[in-house]
Symmetry: C3
Subunit: 206 residues, 3 copies
């Protein structure tokens, strides 16, 4: 069950990576690399920091699913672009799931709540950052003012707090994931925006 | 013997890194950083994922050889540019060697054939990706449509298959390396190209 | 004491990261990510290569101080820009400290003097490289011809030499740090410049 949710999150993240590949006119190799890195990069960073072998390198599904996503985008990217609003909702679900699961894993390995939450956020957003760096772009997360990292931070913080209260296992994970998911959806619907530094005019992009 | 081959591969990869440094008008520090990262980056990524100390940090030759390559390019880059066709052949040899050696090392550490082959490809192409990211370019591998990763994939897959059949040691490594090398040379000679996503016109670069 | 010096170095590196964020018009999330990565990135790279859990993930101060620096820059960046000459002096102090401390830690973990010094330089300059890659720029270190890495190399080399002579502990660290600091300040005052490859005209940037 949790494995199935993981794979859905990985699939959706991989779709976003492969689509960036199409938009940047990358070839099939580039699309596949972006799909894999977007989907698996956050978890790999988390596991490198925890000093354990990355989960992606002991699961067949984790490697195959992004390749399937890249193949789908390769053949049907116009159709995938059309269903992007639905993909964005699934992406928010992946964000919620990965920040909760990442925080829990980090705390299982003995990190403090602060560092556990930090690593949970890294799990959720690290793949997207690697995707953009590889695609030659400033990571969207750093400038687009959408609330993407903030819901992950709050979800991770709640997971860390529940863990500290000895509430872990799937109900706590699910509650934290749903919270981050709900906040992300609310931020999209309400067009909430992260502030720029004081005095910086907001009419131009980087 | 295997050590000497390794050092030749490292030297050639370092030349390509230092040359990118010259073309991008980097200073001597930048040239040296690119030479070291191009030559050693793939192996460092592999070893970080295997959760062992990177081989580059326990070998003197691995660190000194790229610095020598950077010094040669510093003084004689026009001459090095002139012999690039020969360097490309040596680069193909490095590609073949590193994908085979990387796959074998990964499987020695208990990875599955699928993950071993994946890490073999990472060993072979990771340094070039880091080189381009540090030089402020989209990694060539992702868009230039040359078959560079694909020969490494096939060589790694053959190495993984041989390993599964209990055929490891230098004959298997050599066979896999030669296969990847030959495919890379064939791809260059025949100008084989990786496809773009369906419907994407091929007349413009990213 | 050493902890306090560390935190000052981290604070100053984080200021530089957050300022790059303002100049690139990133939002508050981007500023905070750049502050954290600039301050902690070099040490995280060092610890990943040493195959130990990064120090940043077991210290509260290491995570909180860059966030405070980002908040200060968020509200008072014009004032921080005005005191940049002073910040540059503190940055040189951080450079000196981190190269010495990084080399010592690496040698404590059994690396050779060569590799210890290399990892000391990585500790000192790695955060700045990550800052620039994330901000979509070629790392300043690779092209700006200032002597920034070179003082760190010399400080690290002296630390490694002292360590080999069994002179470690704070006097050796302090001496190496002060040496690198002094060289960096001298390089700034005297406008010393790293050379470009032979024959490359120096009138254009990358």
């Amino acid at each position: 069950m949790s494995q199935a949710l993981d794979l859905i999150g990985i699939f959706v993240f991989a779709l976003s990576g492969a689509l960036v590949g199409v938009r940047r006119r990358l070839d099939v190799v580039g699309m596949t690399v972006l799909a894999e890195m977007t989907a698996l990069g956050g978890g790999i960073l988390r596991d490198l920091i925890l000093n354990v072998r990355p989960a992606a390198f002991s699961s067949t599904g984790y490697v195959v699913v992004p390749a399937v996503a890249a193949a789908i985008v390769f053949f049907w990217h116009p159709q995938v672009e059309r269903v992007m609003p639905a993909v964005d909702v699934l992406d928010a679900a992946g964000l919620g799931l990965f920040c909760a699961v990442g925080t829990e894993k980090a705390m299982n390995y003995g990190l403090s709540p602060l560092h556990g939450a930090l690593l949970g956020v890294t799990t959720a957003v690290g793949g997207g950052i690697l995707r953009d760096v590889l695609a030659g772009q400033i990571p969207l997360l750093l400038y687009d003012r959408q609330l993407y990292a903030v819901p992950a931070m709050l979800g991770s913080a709640v997971m860390a707090a529940l863990y500290t209260l000895d509430l872990h296992g799937w109900p706590a994970t699910l509650a934290s994931a749903v919270l981050a998911f709900g906040l992300r959806i609310a931020a999209m619907r309400l067009r909430l925006r992260a502030p720029l530094a004081r005095g910086v005019a907001s009419d131009q992009g980087p």
